[in-house]
């Protein structure tokens, strides 16, 4: 791997930067068309643009899939996507609506100035015309609503020039064989119905210029590796178990031995689930979440709700989501703090997927204390303001096809009174004993729809654990987070995520005083109508 993202350096717009921009064919072409668009782009009697941005995403992808010990896909490709966005009107009121992203064109892979500029020119023209239409439509729409909204559509920020290193995928040749070695293990386990391993490796270089004079370039490499094993119990219930590795530093990639070891455990778990007892009809009592399960919980219930998403005209609420009317209110227990810090490169010994120094609006990333002592202090902000929060705090991010909007970077969840892991487990068992229960539940990992992926009964008598299956939570939402967590551990754990851009959630284990667990409403599936072929 070429140097990854560490080589950002910040300088004011002086000669060295100028020459760097000029030396980069992509930035050069973007700026040349920007200059032309800024001075000349105007249709007849219509408004000229007041803001233009170009975002070019150069994505190199390596895709490999394996099933049951054999390769299914191996693909290496590179695509350049150009997005041009034009705003007409002014900062106070422009054409932007919720999903206005501008115009997208595929751009040449060759650094050929003429061909690059041709595509930029076409995209700009489409984006400007679309903006004029949106502007007219939005004026009509706004007339339906009485009060003039006091917020601006687009914040004013300082221009920024920051030219980071570009990245390339390093040798990826080990992966097809490694993936096959992983799924090959399943052949020794007749109860495993299907076994897959998938690698998605991306080297993403993003180039950005806007009409305010910003010019940025940055690169990120992400490896997204997922393994899955599926089994079915005699009553038809199906289980997927797997392990996801989202890695942004080559040095943290697992060795083949590590992958094989991990996958053997995956298979052990899925086989154990087949024979595990069903959860009871109803349970109400203490539940201990592992740090990993807590990161999933906060990724689902807190991360989207602290991202400022402006409601549509006429809709009430400061933002969308569960915290729409929670500004300056308590949303978590008093001892919990939440901070989003994209500038942190590592935590708990791992490189963070949500690390960046400049966001996709060309605004410097900032650490933001979103929730202090349980109180929602602010939101993560892009350049699209919401009530009382007129400026960006460097959290505008997007994939190749969208306009930047407020997104999580590295979300740190911490307790002002962290409890040692062993003590937390003790607290959990005591709470359980106090209820006179024979056992209580520990969530090792959470899956889709926040249903427990691995759920254990922990017996008060001797602390031994028993895996159960078929469980779901009766209610697990932001209300439970606010009132239900009684303590958090000191075992900060990182979960990296990647979906068009990377983000991370870092959290310790958490003890809930009382949650309700029930049987999963998802029905069982039929067993195979005839047996699988022998695999070993």
């Amino acid at each position: 791997m070429k140097q990854f993202a560490t080589a950002f350096f910040l300088l004011t717009a002086t000669l060295p930067i100028f020459s760097q921009v000029q030396n980069d064919a992509v930035l050069g072409a973007l700026q040349a068309e920007m200059a032309r668009s800024k001075s000349d782009l105007k249709l007849l009697n219509e408004k000229p643009p007041y803001y233009i941005e170009y975002s070019l995403t150069d994505q190199e992808s390596f895709i490999a899939d394996s099933s049951m010990g054999a390769p299914r896909t191996e693909l290496h490709l590179r695509v350049r996507t150009l997005r041009a966005m034009v705003l007409v009107g002014d900062h106070k009121r422009d054409n932007s609506l919720q999903f206005s992203a501008g115009a997208v064109e595929i751009a040449p892979l060759d650094n050929d100035p003429e061909a690059l500029r041709q595509q930029i020119w076409l995209a700009t023209d489409k984006a400007y015309k679309a903006a004029l239409q949106q502007y007219a439509a939005k004026q009509v729409m706004l007339k339906q609503f009485q009060q003039e909204q006091p917020l601006e559509d687009f914040s004013t920020e300082k221009p920024l020039t920051e030219i980071g290193a570009t990245v390339k995928l390093d040798d990826v040749s080990r992966w097809p064989a490694d993936l096959n070695a992983v799924t090959m293990i399943a052949r020794q386990h007749p109860n495993v119905l299907s076994s897959t391993a998938a690698m998605r490796a991306f080297a993403v270089n993003r180039y950005f210029v806007n009409s305010e004079g910003s010019a940025t370039r940055k690169g990120q490499i992400v490896y997204n590796l997922q393994t899955v094993a599926t089994a079915q119990a005699a009553d038809g219930m199906r289980f997927d178990q797997g392990k996801a590795y989202v890695i942004v530093a080559d040095s943290e990639l697992p060795s083949r031995e590590k992958l094989l070891g991990d996958y053997s455990q995956v298979i052990e778990r899925v086989e154990a689930l087949r024979n595990a007892p069903m959860v009871e009809e109803q349970y109400r009592g203490p539940v201990l979440f592992s740090a990993d399960a807590t990161t999933t919980l906060f990724a689902a219930l807190v991360s989207p709700n602290v991202e400022a998403k402006k409601p549509r005209p006429g809709e009430t609420g400061r933002t969308l989501g569960a915290f729409a009317s929670s500004y300056k209110s308590r949303v978590l227990p008093q001892f919990v703090d939440v901070r989003d810090d994209p500038t942190r490169q590592t935590a708990a010994g791992r490189s963070l997927a949500g690390y960046y120094l400049v966001d996709d609006d060309a605004v410097k990333a900032q650490a933001v204390n979103v929730i202090e002592k349980g109180i929602l202090k602010t939101f993560l902000m892009s350049r699209q303001p919401i009530l009382n929060l007129p400026n960006s705090n460097g959290h505008g991010r997007s994939g190749a096809f969208q306009r930047a909007s407020s997104e999580t970077g590295n979300l740190f969840i911490s307790s002002s009174a962290p409890v040692k892991t062993a003590d937390l487990k003790q607290q959990f068992l005591e709470a359980c004993k106090a209820r006179g229960a024979e056992y209580c539940y520990r969530v090792d990992s959470l899956g889709g729809r926040l249903a427990p992926d691995l759920l254990y009964r922990v017996y008060t008598k001797d602390g031994h654990e028993e895996l159960v299956r078929g469980a779901a939570f009766e209610q697990l939402d932001t209300r439970e987070l606010r009132n239900g967590i009684t303590a958090m551990g000191d075992d900060q754990t990182v979960s990296n995520f990647y979906d068009q851009f990377g983000y991370s959630v870092i959290a310790p284990s958490a003890l809930f005083e009382e949650l309700q667990i029930k049987r999963s409403p998802l029905g069982n599936q039929k067993l195979p109508d005839y047996p699988a072929p022998a695999m070993n």
């Binding site: 299914r72 040449p108 072929p533």
Partner: protein, 565 residues
């Protein structure tokens, strides 16, 4: 009675397939085919006692291997090589008279998925099993629905069975041609040079040159003991040039070249020449006046007539169009009657590889239901004789004629292959034009329309839509009665009803031309050809094309604005 017998035959063949497949395993050298046979036999045996039991099983495995390289304005925009192996698993439960694919449940006949690309028998077998089990479950559910629908619904118009009985075929191993492997670097350079032609034409806004090379290999096995393999590599070059007229009309030229081998494609100099001509056409079209609505004589070039016949006639001759409750059934009750002038005959012949040295895109030796492709004389001397058939029977046409086609992942239906229109009333080009002028004068029209090229079209065959068609002409000329030079016009759409239009053909040319293209319909996208001579219509109706309102770009192209280099 006949359906009962058919069921018996099928039941028998399913059992016999087990032993026959076992015999065949010994002499099979293609490992993938061996695994397919083994798994098919295992599935047939394993599901034999299930309720409902399958009466037909088939596996279609496609090895897709493709290279795509695209350039615009002298730069590469995409260059990728990819391969994958896709399986279509078909399981039919019930009986041919009524099975899970009945009526609206047709898609329940098929489950598609990816298989390993390596020839690993265990992994292949496992993934086929997984797909088969899923497909069986889907078929069983759909069969219950089909039974209850039949019970509650009034009598259907067409009580034909859901699946045709066919004679068991021998195993067919067709030659798998050596795969084409384009030299990527050489082609990238070549496409850069070809696409750079458009740099000199700032009014051509979007343009490109592309190479697609596919090395597809197909394997088919069924419980009727059919076993076929084939592979037909294909190389294609696309050229595209697009502009927008000052009034917002989108104008486009597309040229396609196909060949079974890379050296069969036009040379670079010829492609550059084509690109130049397309750029010129597009620039001329930008300035051309818009055509007025018109009803009068028209001359269609061979290529244009070929597209016209594919859209207007070909689609309506596909078997399933005569059966669907939603279908308009234009020709259903016309068998034995005259539907075209007596000097015209139409056949669909997928078995022809080339026509007058032009490779035909619609060539195949067996269809996607494992039936050998056949030449089908659909219309002889103007009289409708039969339809293009898959294994979905329609009244009076109970057998396939090898036209069941589908893109991987879709259920096959009857589709065109190479639609060939022949005429006994052909005259040389010059004479045809003279007759055209005479017709214009006879009708007292100031001009007629000459359709030089048609890009493509679409057809509505369903009942609740008007029985109409629309083709998309690009190069259309006004031919004046008074001898003025021909004048290019734009914005023409041919409209009308099919039967009426077809009977206004009065004369044809004496030379046939080929149109190769991709045809999209309910069973996905399949390559097709249409072959026809130029045709003189006494009357054709055109309307003005629905107008787009996108203005041309506001700023001049970067190259025109002072250059980017």
């Amino acid at each position: 009675m006949s359906t009962l017998r058919a069921a018996g035959v099928f039941g028998l063949s399913l059992l016999s397939a087990l032993s026959l497949a076992a015999q065949q395993n010994g002499k099979n050298t293609d490992l993938v085919l061996q695994v397919m046979q083994q798994e098919l036999s295992r599935a047939a045996a394993g599901l034999q006692k299930s309720d409902p039991a399958p009466y037909f099983l088939s596996y279609n495995v496609d090895d897709e291997d493709g290279t795509a390289i695209a350039a615009t304005h002298g730069a590469i925009i995409n260059s990728v090589h990819a391969k994958r192996r896709l399986a279509d698993v078909s399981v039919r439960v019930g009986s041919p008279a009524l099975d899970n694919t009945h009526g609206e449940s047709r898609s329940s006949g098929n489950t598609a998925g990816q298989l390993p690309v390596s020839d690993d028998p265990k992994a292949l077998g496992h993934d086929l099993w997984e797909l088969t089990d899923a497909q069986y479950k889907q078929a069983a559910r759909a069969f219950t629905t089909a039974q209850s629908q039949r019970a509650v619904k009034a009598d259907e118009e067409d009580k034909s069975p859901d699946f045709s009985a066919e004679k068991p075929a021998e195993a067919m191993t067709l030659p798998v041609n050596a795969p084409l492997s384009p030299d990527v670097k050489v082609w990238e350079e070549r496409l850069r040079r070809i696409s750079a032609v458009f740099n000199q034409h700032p009014l051509v806004y979007e343009s490109g040159a592309m190479l697609y090379v596919t090395n597809d290999r197909r394997r088919f096995v069924s419980s009727e003991n059919v076993q076929v393999t084939s592979g037909v590599p294909l190389a294609r070059v696309f050229l595209i040039a697009q502009t927008i007229a000052d009034d917002g009309m989108q104008l486009m030229r597309v040229e396609t070249f196909e060949a079974p081998a890379l050296d069969g494609l036009p040379r670079e100099a010829a492609l550059i020449e084509h690109a130049e001509r397309m750029a010129g056409d597009v620039e001329k079209l930008r300035k051309a006046p818009i055509a007025e609505p018109f009803n009068g004589p028209a001359l269609l070039s061979g290529r244009a007539a070929a597209v016209f016949f594919h859209e207007v006639l070909g689609h309506r001759l596909e078997g399933q169009r005569q059966r669907g409750e939603e279908e308009g059934q234009t020709f259903t009750k016309q068998v034995g009657q005259s539907v075209l002038p007596a000097f015209l005959s139409v056949a669909d012949d997928p078995t022809v590889r080339t026509f007058a040295e032009v490779p035909l895109a619609g060539y195949f030796a067996f269809d996607d239901e494992g039936i050998p492709a056949q030449r089908v004389e659909v219309i002889q001397k103007g009289i409708l004789k039969q339809f293009l058939m898959s294994r979905m029977p329609v009244r009076n046409f109970l057998h396939s004629n090898g036209h069941g086609r589908a893109q991987a992942g879709f259920m096959p239906v009857a589709r065109q292959g190479n639609l060939i229109v022949t005429s006994t009333n052909g005259v040389p080009e010059k004479e045809l034009r003279a007759q055209f002028l005479a017709e214009i004068k006879k009708q007292n029209k100031p001009y007629g329309l000459y359709f030089e090229d048609i890009e493509g079209g679409f057809t509505l065959t369903t009942r609740n839509e008007p029985q109409a068609f629309q083709v998309l002409p690009v190069m259309v000329w006004k031919v004046y009665a008074d001898g003025r030079p021909d004048e290019l016009v734009r914005g023409v759409d041919i409209v009308g009803t099919p039967l009426a239009a077809l009977n206004r053909i009065v004369q044809t040319g004496d030379k046939q031309f080929v149109f190769n293209g991709l045809c999209g319909a309910e069973s996905g996208s399949v390559p097709v050809s249409a072959v026809a001579p130029a045709m003189l219509f006494s009357e054709i109706e055109v309307q003005r094309k629905a107008q787009a309102h996108d203005r041309p770009p506001i700023l001049p192209a970067p190259a025109a604005a002072g250059g980017a280099r």
